[in-house]
Structure formats: C-alpha cells, structure tokens
Symmetry: C2
Subunit: 185 residues, 2 copies
Amino acid sequence: MAQRTLDREDWIDAGLTALEAGGTEAVAALPLARALGVTRGSFYWHFASREELLEAVVARWERDHSDAVLDALESITDPWERLRALCERAASKPPSLFIRLLEATDREPAAREAIQRSSERRLAVIGRACRETGMTPAVARRHALLMYSAYVGLARLLDEEPGRMTPRERAAYARHLVVTLVPSE
Amino acid sequence: MAQRTLDREDWIDAGLTALEAGGTEAVAALPLARALGVTRGSFYWHFASREELLEAVVARWERDHSDAVLDALESITDPWERLRALCERAASKPPSLFIRLLEATDREPAAREAIQRSSERRLAVIGRACRETGMTPAVARRHALLMYSAYVGLARLLDEEPGRMTPRERAAYARHLVVTLVPSE
DNA sequence: CAATTGCCGTACAGGGGTGTACGGTCTTTT
DNA sequence: AAAAGACCGTACACCCCTGTACGGCAATTG
C-alpha cells in the first residue's frame, strides 16, 4: 500500500487534489512536494517545469471530467431526455475542479485553453440537443448559450456558498430548470 | 493636467484600471507604482498595506458599479419592465471588473465579501421583481437564481471571448432572454 | 522666512516561489 | 556482483513581491 516511490501519475493525482482545494496556484512544485512528503528534487525528475505539471493536470481533468461526461450525455438518444439530464446535472453538486480552472483562465494559459475547448464542446452538445427538439439553428444556439450560462453561473454561486441550497432545494431548482428551459414535446 | 503629486484616490483609480486589465494580482504596490511612474515609497504613505489598497478598490467598485446600478434598476416601477431592463443589461458589454473580482474570491477575502454582498443584493432585487409579477416567493427565489446565474455565466463566457457575439447577436440574445425568462403580463 | 506637512526615493530584510547542478540511495537489469 | 537506471535530498542563484526605516525635497502655513 505504502508505495516506496512516486511516479508521474502520483504527482498528477496530488495536483488534482490540490487544484480542488487551493486553485491552480496550489498546483506547484513546492506545495505538492510538501503534501506528498518529499522535496522538489522528485518533482523536477518527473516534470521539466511547473507549467508542464499544470498542463498534465488540466489534460487529465479535460479527459476524465469534461469529455467523459459529455460522451455519457451524448449517449442519450432522446433529445428531451438529454436536456433534462443536463438540468439535473446543473443542479447537482457543483464541479469544483471546473470552477477552479475557470477562476484561473486569466493567469494560466493551460487552463484557459482547456476551458475554452470544453465550453465549445458543451455549447455544441447542448445546441445539437436543442436543434433535435425542433428549434431553428439560430434559436438553438441562443438557447444553448442560455443553458450553459445558467450552468456556469449556478456552479459559481454554489461553489462560493455550498450551504445556499439544500439537496431538496436543488431538486426543486432542477425541476424549475426543466420547466423553463426544456421545450415541451 | 500633469498633477505634481499623487493622492489616495489616484492610487485607487489606478487600482481599478489594473484590476480590469490584470485581475487582483495586478492591484499591488509594485505594479501600480510602475504604472504610475513612482516608487513604492509613495504607496506606503497612502496605504498601510496591499490589503488596504485592495479593500479600497473593491469598496469603490461596490459603490459605483454594483449598488449604483441596482439603485437605478429599482427605480423602475413596473416589474416586467424592470426584468426586461435586466435582460438587456445581461446581454450588453460584460462587466470586466465584476468578473475579475469573481475570479479572485478564493484568494482575496475582500473580493469574496464584496461579491457575496453584491450577489445577495442582486438576488434580492431580481426576486422581488419576480414576486411583483405574481410568482410565489418560492418560485420567485428559484427564478431569480436562474436569471442571476445566466447573467454571471454569460458574463464569464463573453469576457473570455469578447468576439463570440456581435452587437446584433447580443440584441437577439437579449430578446431571447426576455421571451424565455420574463413572465408574460 | 522658517517650519511643518505631504509626497516620494532608496536601501534593507525577508518570504515564497522557480530552476539547476549535483550527489546520494535504493532497485532493477545484465 | 557490478552496472545501469529511477527516485529523492541538498544547496545555490534567482525573481518578484511585501513591509519598514529613513532621508530628501517641494509646497504650504505660521
């Protein structure tokens, strides 16, 4: 269990944990070394620079926490059902990693690029679902922008103050989202 | 025109400019001194610490860019009109200062507290307008949360990529917001 | 016309981070 | 068993920022 030595993946794991807790500025050689109980000598064996670490952490987030859930969503064939699932997810526990990356887009190019790609994909997925419910392409684009904005905004709000909504209130809010944002069949 | 010496307000002015351009980390003694063409010797005459500067900058934002516009909004008596004005504003040029503060809430207590107060006030104002259009208090709360989330989310998106929407598209989006989020009279 | 007062420069001490150059020490391979 | 490789510690030079102490100078003010 107690691994004798660390490898690259261990640092990336620790990086994701640190990112969630302390934002991108916690994803750095010295803080992570402290958390892992080693010195930076180990870090610079696995990574050439702090930038390379952050890029690796961000890449893993994009693969496991962005692309993966979008793939799962796209596997839902019925577009109304897909949009409802989207509303459910929007009102569930806020995605801390996403928020942390969002907060760092002005300082960290790696975060900005990943967030930009992810946002574009999300908008495309939502827009396609909207079109499949019968909206015109132009309306679908606007509605996708509205739904995604509502997702991002709520995530921010909830991340700031997790106690703002109880699970019961989140469920009620999810229903409200469905009623106001998902077109009727 | 070329003032011979700087006062506290000059530093706060420069702080707001730096905040918009470089986020809260640009609101600091050394960067601002460079921008103003002086040394930090001047800064520490006007402020006891970097924290005090940021607090002053944030306080001015809250007064001039949050409370002021909310006061103006609340002066609109008709609640439907008030909500329409809100949608207009949401789809207009994104509030960079607001976004910068939002991005710093995890590092800067001053920003977090101001954003929290501002968010609370905004939610209250929107919620009241919703109630005045006939919604029940519970529904009004949820709808206010949705409208404010959409505002925050779009602001983030547009700030990241200002070229995403032309003025024409923003106008169309504002109409879309009114249609989907403002109840009919 | 002297004396404050307001504003600014300079110099120092320190904190926290980065990268680099080495040397060790285990572990694996041959 | 010796060599090679993987991992980590240590020490150094550096950057960028903070805060403090102090000294100078210009513009009021008495």
